[in-house]
């Protein structure tokens, strides 16, 4: 490119009316300052071309730090701001907002990550970390000189929500959204609403009949005029973007248009095929016990409940969270209803929450025996006895048994992976859906306008499912209530003169954000701004170089790369 020759190493703008760049080096308490010489880094930053202001801050993201940035922009007439701190994922919006408040275009802000990319990975070598931070900042400063002002893209939001999954979480989310006045389409794979809870007997810790609760909820959903329920129906394709998702469903290929999507597909209990001698008669799962209690037909006198059957083992490390409480609840029920001898075999008892702890005490009072076992010495299951090696007593105990109940963990639905591909949202290593941020955005997906709740995300109790459902509905309402959505303008721009309409970019775009349109000069590709995530796939693909990425232009990245290989003065 011709520009490259003219610009040289990017410092030619130093003379005359070059940009006025301000650099802010964050100490992040000791997160950064503890592993490098931030003073040196700040001092070095001041020598970089076009840099007119440098400030070292203890916490740039604190209110004081942000105010400091604003003040510096105004006082020093800065037109580019470079913050060398942490990941853009947490604080880019913060600093952009600061720029905006000070009258600067928010896209004149450049984030240099000297924490995750530098101080945290070079904890051992202080000098190296300092040098690397210098490099990173030099690159950031070089790029910032080429930043262009941009305005956010505003899109409309269809005031309709799509809830995938008609279990307790999905129904609660749908009712919540309907109560806020939004239309809801609820899709359920089965022929009836209710999900996993429908096959339970009583709900801990209150001892409420699960059927009463879930049927009441289902009938409220069915009767709600704002909610349209599509049963025996699955999502087959999703196109579009936040504010306007076009969802194709399996029943008659109907298309549902919705502003947001709530994923509440739930989970299923692990079927212990071939494990522990499972035969659904004498050795059953907890869910089968619930069914047995529901039918209240058979009665057994010697019951053993075994926890962590298939959970917290190599290959499935996680705790299913709900099994201990379920086992205790059912132990009490069998003790009272069947007058059975109940023994609970456990590895660790997880009974968090006051009511659950009370339930544990009640179980002990009712005469339920609790025996601890370890992963190394699992119980040996025979026809009439279970031999367990007690961790506490240090010897084997033989427990007579005529019913062995296995607490198997909740595992992801088999359809999760397929659905995640349709929705373009991630799943974790086990196949549960993965939220955007474990703390800051626990119910959002990284993709705007798609939310997750209930056991689709992770094993959860009914109470937690309800909390998450209400929370997800609340999160979704933030989009629906505003009626419009602001999208980052970091999108691709297609030069229609250069475009030959080959359609390669259309085929490759993972977000369906490019369409081919007929013009007088033949077919041309065009970006759908709201849908584009700015990933750059199209730009890299286009052999005509007709596609330019906003905010990551060739000039900007070129300057950054050139700065990376400058010999240190």
């Amino acid at each position: 490119m011709s520009k490259r020759k003219k610009k040289g190493s990017g410092d030619s703008r130093a003379s005359g009316d070059g940009p006025r760049i301000g650099v802010f080096v964050c100490n992040c308490g000791t997160n950064i300052a503890g592993f490098m010489d931030t003073e040196d880094v700040a001092g070095y930053s001041a020598t970089l071309p076009n840099v007119v202001f440098v400030r070292e801050n203890l916490y740039s993201c604190s209110e004081a730090g942000v105010n400091d940035i604003k003040q510096a922009i105004i006082d020093n007439k800065l037109d580019r701001v470079v913050v060398a701190a942490c990941t853009p994922r947490t604080h880019e919006p913060t600093f952009r907002a600061a720029c905006k408040d000070a009258g600067l275009n928010p896209y004149h802000f450049e984030f240099v990550n000297i924490r995750e990319h530098c101080s945290w990975v070079h904890k051992e070598d202080r000098d190296l970390a300092t040098l690397k931070a210098r490099d990173l900042i030099r690159m950031g400063v070089a790029r910032s000189a080429y930043l262009e002002p941009m305005e956010p893209i505003i899109g409309n939001v269809v005031e309709r929500a799509l809830v995938v999954g008609g279990g307790i979480s999905g129904m609660t989310a749908a009712l919540e959204l309907a109560a806020r006045g939004f239309e809801v389409v609820l899709i359920e794979r089965q022929k009836h609403l209710g999900g996993l809870v429908k096959s339970l007997y009583e709900i801990y810790p209150w001892g409420e009949k699960a059927a009463d609760y879930i049927n009441g909820l289902a009938s409220r959903v069915e009767r709600n005029s704002k909610i349209r329920v599509l049963k025996a129906c699955e999502v087959t394709d999703v196109r579009g973007y936040v504010g306007k998702y076009e969802v194709t469903v399996s029943s008659g290929d109907e298309t549902v248009v919705a502003g947001i999507i709530v994923v509440a597909t739930g989970a299923r209990p692990l079927l212990p095929e071939g494990m522990f001698g499972h035969d659904s008669r004498r050795v059953i799962t907890m869910l089968e016990l619930e069914a047995m209690l529901l039918r209240s037909r058979s009665r057994r006198k010697k019951v053993v409940l075994m926890g962590c059957a298939g959970a917290r083992i190599p290959g499935r490390f996680y705790c299913s969270r709900i099994c201990c409480m379920t086992a205790i609840k059912n132990a009490i029920i069998m003790r009272k209803k069947w007058k059975a001898d109940v023994t609970v075999l456990y590895r660790d008892l997880m009974c968090y929450g006051v009511q659950n702890e009370t339930m544990l005490v009640d179980a002990k009072k009712a005469g339920v025996r609790f025996i601890n076992y370890s992963l190394e010495n699992p119980p040996v299951i025979e026809k009439d006895t279970v031999t367990v090696s007690s961790e506490i007593l240090g010897r084997d105990l033989k427990v007579p048994v005529d019913l062995l109940v296995l607490s198997t963990p909740l595992v992801p639905q088999d359809t999760n992976v397929a659905l995640s591909k349709i929705l373009k949202v991630p799943v974790d290593e086990y196949g549960f859906f993965l939220e955007a941020h474990v703390k800051l955005r626990p119910l959002d997906f990284a993709t705007d306008g798609i939310f997750v709740c209930g056991t689709a995300r992770w094993p959860a109790s009914i109470r937690e499912c309800l909390e998450q459902a209400i929370g997800a509905a609340s999160r979704a309402s933030t989009y629906l209530a505003r009626g419009e959505v602001e999208v980052e303008p970091i999108v691709s721009v297609i030069d229609e003169e250069e475009c030959r309409g080959c359609g390669l970019c259309v085929a490759l775009c993972p977000y369906g954000a490019i369409e081919l349109i007929d013009t007088e000069k033949g077919k041309k590709a065009r970006t759908i701004d709201v849908a584009c995530k700015g990933c750059g796939t199209c730009g890299a693909t286009c052999y005509r170089h007709a596609i330019r990425m906003k905010h990551y232009s060739d000039e900007q990245l070129g300057a950054q790369i050139r700065a990376a290989f400058v010999k240190d003065p």
Binding site: E63, A64, D101, A481
Partner: protein, 564 residues
């Protein structure tokens, strides 16, 4: 769809991570949110934790993101240092009353901490349940920030205690800086009788002065006296500039009685541009100041100075013009006065209710006695005088009697010195001058001969349990009677308003103590346009309380007269 932005005022209580999240969520949904946090900073526990499990992410990264969003969100108003006082249901909503605590020191503060060392104001520490003191400026917050400095702003104890809430701290400070003219303006802002109060105010302000905990209270009253003396000197030197009242509203107002309450009302209304006229029964202004308080305590030229100030505002005082059965409030209305203030005081001495009280001659209640003397009759009232009572009037009577040349003056009080309502320095002075004071003594029977008083039989008392007034109830000790010779008995047991001037059909609501029944927040009597205050409402009380009542009535009268 139903508009979800219809009910849209949300209060989030608590600025921790849940509160911040809730506020953002609600505001994102279009609500206007008020976030209330008790501490001076947002983030709460999240800020105090260094890192959060499970991955040990620095907590500040999370909280600062949330805090920044909250602080910069156009839909969120943040009230730190605030707490919820009351929550009540209203029509279709909830009303939340908040209390805002101290003010934050602005960003210029670099947290050097010097202020903490020199702060002289030590309020009780709320954090420690008020069991200890803190400094008015204090800091709180996460250690990494060095804390956020706040000033606990509260009304100074003296100002709060003063019935008219003079900004004492301000004028004392101005005096200390030698700015006397400004100081007297601050006093006059709330107190139209500074020279008088500078001498006879019981100064409750000094009793609560924080300096008193260290050594001795600031001499607030004496300082007031000093600046008022300064003003008098300026006046005499012809350098005094009277204040300018607001634009003349051409509305006539009548004030009955030139006592402290009446003078205050006239003063306030004159400043507001009304035309007050004071109708005074006696030939001198000041009411009890002149008639009740002996000259040695309150020189007459001092009263005249404060009255002259009020007259300078355009207030006319008509002396020797009492309201009578023939010259009533209705006549005042007929003369064109649009509102009336009844500041008639409490001039009727109460009886002791002792056997023989009505049989003999030789009684003179303290008010009549003091009035006679104060109006110029300096003759000796008797040789041996007994004064009964423990208030300032009793002491005044006793001291006056001594000064008139009475041979023996005895003062009887039924409780001990500790319970005596008179100013302690007055009691000391009385004893110094030769008044014989019998504490824990009460009259039993008046002794007389040939229709004249010759003495009094008394009994010793002891103190029992606390009574309704919070003082220990005196109980007679049987067999402890003793006799005191006397040819004049001055009961000074209390007074009540003398309302004998009112015609039969006056239409006022009168309490069983002969005082006017008024609305305490406005001073309004049951008759429209007629207000009252001071001793006429409360019974005998202090000058400063009468001034307070005057202010209250004057502002209500202004409101009343401003109505179209």
């Amino acid at each position: 769809m139903s508009d979800p932005s219809a009910r849209r005022e949300v209060v989030v209580v608590g600025g921790g991570v849940s509160g911040l999240k809730a506020a953002i969520e609600a505001a994102d949904q279009g609500a206007s949110v008020t976030l209330v946090e008790e501490s001076p900073f947002l983030g709460d526990l999240l800020l105090k934790e260094g890192r959060i499990p499970p991955d040990g992410f620095p907590s500040l990264c999370l909280s600062s993101k949330l805090i920044n969003r909250v602080v910069h969100h156009p839909g969120i108003r943040v009230l730190t240092n605030s707490s919820v006082k009351r929550v009540s249901k209203t029509d279709g909503g909830i009303k939340v009353s908040l209390k805002r605590w101290p003010a934050r020191v602005n960003e210029a503060c670099n947290a050097c901490g010097e202020c903490l060392m020199v702060c002289p104001i030590k309020p009780y520490d709320r954090f420690n349940e008020g069991l200890m003191l803190r400094t008015a400026i204090d800091f709180a917050g996460p250690r990494d920030f060095g804390g956020i400095y706040n000033i606990e702003k509260e009304t100074p104890a003296c100002q709060e205690k003063c019935p008219v809430h003079i900004d004492i701290r301000k004028y004392v400070g101005l005096i200390a800086g030698g700015r006397y003219e400004e100081a007297i303006k601050v006093v006059r802002d709330k107190n139209p009788l500074p020279a008088v109060c500078g001498r006879i105010c019981p100064h409750p302000c000094e009793s609560v002065c924080n300096r008193g905990r260290q050594d001795e209270a600031v001499a607030i009253d004496a300082l007031k006296r000093f600046v008022s003396d300064y003003e008098i000197a300026q006046r005499q030197a012809g350098k005094f500039v009277p204040p300018k009242p607001k634009k003349d509203r051409k509305i006539k107002v009548a004030v009955v009685g030139a006592g402290p309450a009446g003078l205050t009302v006239a003063h306030d209304l004159a400043l507001e541009g009304f035309r007050p006229t004071i109708f005074e029964a006696e030939s001198v202004p000041g009411g009890m100041l002149h008639l009740g308080i002996p000259e040695y305590r309150l020189p007459r030229d001092i009263i005249m100075n404060d009255v002259a100030y009020i007259e300078d505002l355009g207030v006319e005082i008509k002396y020797n013009t009492p309201l009578t059965k023939k010259f009533t409030v209705d006549d005042l209305f007929k003369q064109g006065y649009k509102a009336i203030f009844m500041g008639v005081g409490a001039y009727e001495g109460l009886k002791m209710r002792v056997e023989g009280e009505d049989e003999y001659e030789g009684f003179l209640d303290c008010i009549k006695f003091l009035k006679r003397v104060n109006l110029g009759d300096k003759s000796k009232p008797g040789d041996k005088v007994i004064v009964i009572g423990g208030g300032n009037s009793a002491i005044d009577s006793a001291r006056t009697a001594i000064r008139l040349g009475c041979d023996e003056v005895t003062l009887l009080y039924r409780r001990s010195r500790k319970e005596m309502p008179a100013n302690s320095w007055e009691i000391d002075a009385a004893a110094e001058e030769g008044v014989k004071i019998h504490y824990l003594a009460a009259p039993v029977k008046i002794l007389g001969k040939q229709g004249k008083v010759v003495g009094m039989k008394c009994t010793r008392m002891r103190l029992g349990k606390l009574d309704a007034s919070g003082r220990r109830r005196p109980i007679p000790i049987e067999g402890s009677e003793f006799e005191v010779e006397a040819d004049l008995i001055v009961p000074a047991v209390s007074q009540r308003p003398d309302i004998s001037f009112l015609p039969e059909e006056h239409g006022f609501e009168i309490s069983r103590w002969n005082s006017f029944e008024v609305d305490t927040s406005t001073g309004a009597t049951n008759r429209p346009g007629i207000y009252s205050g001071g001793d006429a409402v409360t019974g005998p009380a202090t000058v400063i309380e009468a001034i307070q009542a005057g202010h209250i009535a004057a502002s209500a009268m202004k409101e009343y007269l401003s109505q179209p």
